[in-house]
Structures are given as structure tokens and as C-alpha cells.
């Protein structure tokens, strides 16, 4: 499954570790929520990046105490119609101030890329190779947005207001 980060297809630095498997000696790891909570101290002592795979039916507020230690949060779209992780992403970014990598996993298709970017995702484990390759094209399709999100785009309402100001001065 290709991983797209900052608009390019890249290798995944993280090794996903099953709950019953030993942690590798070094390198970035991706663990479950249960393991994160159970082995917090061991994970903190590794001094290598730690990511968590967070289920889409669990309140992300539960991650708040860990956010400083996490370099990756992988949220899940079990099917792309299940949009719970869209809200999780926005809350992590905009309410809880998470700054690390926010990765969309599961059934991730090109038709969601723009939405995901707007919700604060910056990495995409894409289901189809062709979609991964079309990332740039798919995410530049829209130049105007109605809603303000944490992605920095001005919403239409904000943009119009700014233009009025520019005209007035």
C-alpha cells in the first residue's frame, strides 16, 4: 500500500508491531492504543519515534496526555464511507493542538484526499497505486473552499471580507 507524504510517494519508516510481538531493537514503531498505554515507559525510553494506531470509535481526548510523545497518529477509515476519523483528525489538530504526523489508513481513495488534507491529515496510506500517483492532481482540483478549517485556506466568507478590506483601503 503506497504511502503519500507531503505530496510524494515515500517509504514507510514505521514498523507496525503486533500486540504480542517483541518490539524491534531500534527504529520507528507503530503500536496499538492498548500497547501504548500498557508499555508507556518502555516506549518512552527507546528514544525513537513512536506512533499509535487509534481506532475510529474511541474518543481522541484519551490521547491528549500522550500527544507530546507521539510522532504519528494513524486514524482508520475501515471503509471510506465511515467518516468518523475525519472528525477525529480535526479535533486532534484544532482542539488538542497535535503537530506530529496524522496518517489516514484503511480504504483511502483519491476522492477523499482534499477532505483529508483540510481536516489536518498529512500522510495517506492509499489503497490504490493509481490514486497515490494522482495525488497532486486530485488535491489541486479545488481552489475555493467554503469552510474554515485548520489547514490555512481562507474560507469564502473570510476571503470576501479580506477583499472588501483591500478595496476599502
Amino acid at each position: 500500500m503506497p504511502l503519500v507524504k507531503h505530496g510524494a510517494i515515500v517509504a514507510d519508516d514505521y514498523v507496525a508491531v503486533a500486540d504480542d510481538a517483541d518490539l524491534p531493537a531500534g527504529g520507528a514503531v507503530l503500536v496499538s492504543a492498548a500497547r501504548l498505554f500498557a508499555e508507556a515507559e518502555t516506549l518512552a525510553m527507546r528514544n525513537t519515534p513512536v506512533g499509535v494506531a487509534w481506532p475510529n470509535n474511541r474518543d481522541v481526548a484519551g490521547l491528549v496526555p500522550w500527544l507530546d510523545q507521539l510522532s504519528l497518529i494513524a486514524l482508520v477509515f475501515p471503509t471510506f464511507k465511515d467518516g468518523r476519523a475525519h472528525s477525529q483528525g480535526r479535533r486532534l489538530r484544532e482542539i488538542y493542538g497535535y503537530r506530529g504526523e496524522l496518517r489516514a489508513t484503511g480504504q483511502v481513495l483519491r476522492d477523499q484526499f482534499t477532505f483529508l488534507l483540510r481536516n489536518g491529515f498529512d500522510a495517506f496510506a492509499v489503497t490504490k497505486e493509481s490514486d497515490a500517483q494522482a495525488f497532486g492532481e486530485a488535491t489541486h482540483r479545488y481552489t475555493e473552499f467554503y469552510q474554515p478549517t485548520g489547514d490555512g485556506h481562507l474560507s469564502a466568507l473570510q476571503l470576501r471580507k479580506q477583499r472588501h478590506k483591500a478595496v476599502a483601503t
Binding site: 471510506f80 464511507k81 467518516g83 475525519h86 472528525s87 483540510r118 479545488y142 469552510q147 466568507l157
Partner: protein, 550 residues
């Protein structure tokens, strides 16, 4: 009318390009039907019994004559020359080919209309009182707010994959023509004691297999906070709405299962996290939208002009007393065009009719047309002196049947004639009922009476809130119909009550006649509406009348 600026227009054009690409990928097999389905639904494309059905949004029911002409063009060029206006201020085309859809959308985009979010599990087209901005006694024009909501909910990044569809309706009048209590979020524009405009926010209404009347979640939310507040509701719903069972996925079930107090507390907490943030509206933003609503340059006229008194044609008078409503501007009127001719399918209009209505709107209504949830159209700014001439023209077009709000002004879904989910026919029953009640004098004697028909439990015809509701169900391979009475969709919204066992297809018109006759015998005075008689007496006397001889 709201005039698009280049931001709105660019977005609509970009949407067309995106959809063209999605259709191309589907036709080439790059997208599976499973993957394509939610994408096409978000653009109003259903796979129906006979063909793809295409549903175009008419936000808050306002159309310009140019837009209506373009709808006629789509009907003519890509479909079979007619369209079907629905209970959600949309128009549906039933016979369109997938390969033509991008072109149809591109044509519509030229006049600033689109099919965004007319279907799918997203925030749907925002509906409003079809008389918004012209009805006397409104707090202010609710379409300004409907447009703010339309923009905010169009291609919303967080809420395009909700557990289920999500519908807003808005009104600013005491008499609710927008059925806000049977929507996921209902908004009533009000002014508080400080003179500030805001909303009473209702949540959790809806029909379908488990009907609910919406409950008030907050009696007053200031206008500036409305986006952040509805965002909070949607965020709570997106996270906690059920996804395990599509029949329990609507927000009404979440509200029902949690209880309104708990749900409201959850929303309040979520709202506190985002209130005062970037979603907060300021006067400039609101003004910017308001300024792009262009209102007609009305003439200074007075009510009841001489031209009207001279017109003594009884047919005209019948139509006038039925289809013409008071306007906030002296000397003007709101004219409803009935799309319920005797023997016709409710809500259908041909391309030629649409073109002709657009011309009449240019001539008599400042180029504006409205679409109501009762599946009728309206011309919102007609000078009273023009009524006789307008009537002749409308009559010639077949849209002047004087039955608005009367028993033959039936709301019906497409049922078995078009719909792949249907259990029973709706349209032929509606047609037969319009024939039975075609005598205007009798209909007038009966008074306001709403008959609503759905071909299955999904309730697209709003049968639960019909004064008389007719629901098609299937029993042993037979189409049978459950009849409810006493429902209503206005400010006193109630769900109808079943009168007894379902009746076979062939008997439905007789049963409805029996119910109406029972009402005429039971009402305590002619002014007592059917629904009020049912409320006073309950279903029992109607049940007795219907089943005594069956």
C-alpha cells in the same frame, strides 16, 4: 435572488470537473460500482428501476428564470422532456444516461446550479419556506441564513461521510411552510428580547421507518454562532451516530437513545471547544451574503386595484381565492402554481411548461420562481393588477388548477413507477384521487386537507405528516396500503395515527372518500379543519366509518 460571485462559480465549475473525472473512471472500470456509489450519490445520481436518476438542488427553493430554462433544457436534451419536483426542493430527472451527466452538470453550472449533496450520507440541500422574503410577518429573510448554511455545508470536509443523510430546514415565519420539525436540524429564525436575531434550534426530526418530531435543543442561538453550533451538533453526530445499522443511523435515533438533555449536554461541551473560533460570523460576513440577495424594485402600488374588481370571471375568482396569497409589499401577491392537475402525476412539469413559466416569471414576477415542498411552484412577486392576465396564461399551461392545499393537492413519491425501493404504486393512486375530488365546489367545502402518499416505508411522500397519510406496503405479493390520519407538518407537527388494517390497492380511493365523508358529518362547524376534527375525536369514528362496510 442570491447572485453568485466568482468564488461560488469557481467551486461549482471545479465540482463539475471532479465529477467528470469520477464518471470517466467509473466508465473505464477504474472505480468499482461500490466505490463510485457514494461519490455519485453526493452528486445526486441514483441508480433507479429504469435508469440513472439525477437530482438537482434548488437551494431554499429559489430559482431564476434563467435557471428554470436551463432545467427545461436538461429535461429536453438529456431526458424525456420533463422533470419531477420533490418534497425537498429538488428536481429529479428519471431517464438520464451516466455518460451525459457531466455535460448536464456543466450546462447547469452555467447558471449557478448544481447537484451537490442532493443525496448521499452528507449534509443535504438546505430547504426553506418557499415564501421566504415575501411572506408578511417574517423576522427577516431566512434565505440569507439558508445560503450561509448552504455554503458551509457544501463539500464539507468533515461531514461528507456521515452515518446517514442530514437535512436542514429553515423558516422565519410563525406558520411553518418548511416542515422544520421533520428535519434533522430545524431552524426557526427569531428575535430575542434584546432585539438580536438568532435561532431556535430543533434537532432529531425525521420520517422514514421510525418517524420522530424534532425537539428543541436550544431555544436561542445567536446568528453569529449558528455555524459553530450546527458544527458541534454534526461533530457529535459524526462520532456517536450509529453505523452498525443503517436503519438506526439517523441523528433522530441518537437523540432518542441518549435523550435530548444528554445529547444537548454533549453538543454544548463540543460547542464550547469551537465557539468564538473561525466559524463565528461577524456583521461584515453576514452583510456580504445579504448584499448579494437582490430584491425586486417594486412599484408603489396599493392593494386591491381596480383591475381586480373588474375581473368577474368565476373561474378566475376560484383560482384567485385559492392560489393567491398576501405579500409583504402592498399591491403585490404570491401566486402558487399547482403542479397537481386532475389526473396528472404530482410535481411533474414538462420542459415546455418550465420554459413558459420562466417567461411568465420574467414578465410578471421579476424573473423569480419558487419551489415548495408540496411539489408546487410559486411566482413570488406578482403585481395584483396583473393577476387576471397571469391567470389566463397559467390556465393555458395547465398550472392553474385551483386546488392548492385542497384534497387533490396531493404530495406523492414516485413509488413503483420509478423507484427501485418501492413496494407499491403512489402516482396512480394520486391520479385517481385527483379525479375523484376534481369538483372544485366539493373540494372547497372540504377545506384544507393534505393527502400524502409514499410507496414504501422510506416516507419520501411524507405520509406520516399528511392529514391523511397513505403508505404502500407489500403483503403476500399484493400492494396494500396503510392509512393514517391526523398528521401535520406545520408548526403543530404531529405524526398521523393508523386507522386500522391495510386496504388493497383498488379500495384506497373509496376509503379516502369515506374518511372525507365522515369528516364532513363529524366536524362541528365548516371552519373546523380535518386535522382538528381528528384531534378532537380521535381515530375511532373514522375507523368505524371505513371498516363498517369492509
Amino acid at each position: 435572488m442570491y447572485a453568485y460571485d466568482e468564488i461560488d462559480q469557481t467551486l461549482v465549475n471545479e465540482r463539475v470537473t471532479e465529477f467528470r473525472d469520477q464518471v470517466r473512471r467509473r466508465l473505464s472500470g477504474e472505480l468499482t460500482e461500490d466505490e463510485f456509489k457514494p461519490l455519485r450519490l453526493m452528486n445526486g445520481v441514483y441508480l433507479q428501476l429504469h435508469a440513472y436518476m439525477f437530482r438537482v438542488a434548488i437551494p431554499y427553493g429559489t430559482l431564476s428564470s434563467a435557471q428554470l430554462r436551463k432545467l427545461a433544457h436538461v429535461a429536453r436534451k438529456y431526458d424525456r422532456g420533463y422533470g419531477h419536483f420533490t418534497t425537498r426542493q429538488n428536481i429529479q430527472f428519471n431517464w438520464i444516461a451516466l455518460k451525459d451527466l457531466p455535460d448536464a452538470l456543466a450546462d447547469l453550472a452555467e447558471v449557478g446550479i448544481h447537484a451537490m449533496q442532493t443525496s448521499g450520507n452528507c449534509t443535504r440541500n438546505v430547504t426553506a419556506d418557499q415564501w421566504a422574503g415575501v411572506a408578511p410577518g417574517e423576522v427577516e429573510d431566512p434565505r440569507v441564513w439558508a445560503e450561509i448554511l448552504r455554503q458551509h455545508t457544501a463539500l464539507h470536509p468533515e461531514f461528507s461521510f456521515l452515518p446517514r443523510k442530514f437535512k436542514f430546514a429553515i423558516t422565519a415565519a410563525d406558520h411553518d411552510r418548511a416542515a422544520i420539525k421533520v428535519h434533522d436540524i430545524g431552524l426557526k429564525l427569531i428575535r430575542n428580547e434584546q432585539g438580536e436575531t438568532g435561532f431556535e434550534v430543533l434537532v432529531g426530526g425525521g420520517l422514514g421507518r421510525s418517524p420522530f418530531i424534532a425537539k428543541t435543543i436550544k431555544p436561542f442561538v445567536a446568528g453569529r454562532d449558528i455555524l459553530s453550533y450546527v458544527e458541534a451538533i454534526l461533530r457529535v453526530y459524526n462520532q456517536y451516530g450509529r453505523r452498525d445499522n443503517i436503519y438506526k443511523a439517523r441523528i433522530k435515533i441518537l437523540v432518542h437513545e441518549l435523550g435530548i438533555e444528554k445529547f444537548a449536554a454533549e453538543v454544548e461541551q463540543t460547542w464550547r471547544q469551537i465557539a468564538e473560533g473561525p466559524l463565528t460570523l461577524d456583521d461584515e460576513m453576514i452583510e456580504d451574503i445579504r448584499a448579494r440577495f437582490v430584491y425586486p424594485a417594486y412599484e408603489r402600488l396599493s392593494d386591491d386595484p381596480a383591475e381586480l374588481r373588474a375581473a368577474a370571471d368565476p373561474k378566475f375568482e376560484a383560482w384567485r381565492s385559492n392560489s393567491v396569497a398576501p405579500h409583504r409589499q402592498p399591491g403585490y401577491a404570491i401566486v402558487t402554481l399547482s403542479l397537481k392537475p386532475v389526473g396528472g402525476p404530482p410535481g411533474d412539469a414538462t420542459a415546455d411548461q418550465m420554459d413558459a413559466i420562466a417567461d411568465l416569471a420574467d414578465r410578471y414576477s421579476f424573473g423569480e420562481i419558487r419551489v415548495g415542498h408540496e411539489q408546487n411552484l410559486a411566482l413570488p412577486h406578482v403585481a395584483q393588477r396583473d393577476l387576471p392576465a397571469l391567470w389566463s396564461a397559467l390556465d393555458a399551461l395547465g398550472v392553474a388548477t385551483p386546488n392548492v392545499n385542497l384534497v387533490s393537492d396531493i404530495i406523492a413519491c414516485p413509488g413503483l413507477d420509478y423507484c427501485s425501493l418501492a413496494n407499491a404504486r403512489s402516482i396512480p393512486i394520486a391520479q385517481e384521487l385527483t379525479r375523484r375530488f376534481s369538483n372544485h365546489e366539493t373540494a372547497k367545502l372540504i377545506g384544507r386537507l393534505h393527502v400524502n402518499i409514499s410507496g414504501c416505508i422510506n416516507a419520501c411522500g411524507h405520509h406520516h405528516v399528511g392529514h391523511i397519510g397513505i403508505l404502500g406496503v407489500e403483503k403476500n405479493d399484493q400492494e396494500v396500503y396503510q392509512i393514517t390520519i391526523g398528521g401535520r407538518a406545520d408548526e403543530h407537527a404531529r405524526l398521523g395515527e393508523l386507522i386500522g388494517p391495510a386496504v388493497p390497492y383498488a379500495e384506497v380511493p373509496d376509503v379516502i372518500e369515506d374518511i372525507v365523508e365522515a369528516y364532513l358529518a363529524l366536524r362541528d362547524k365548516p371552519e373546523e379543519l380535518f386535522v382538528d376534527t381528528v384531534k378532537r375525536l380521535g381515530v375511532q369514528p373514522f375507523k368505524e366509518r371505513v371498516y363498517a362496510t369492509r
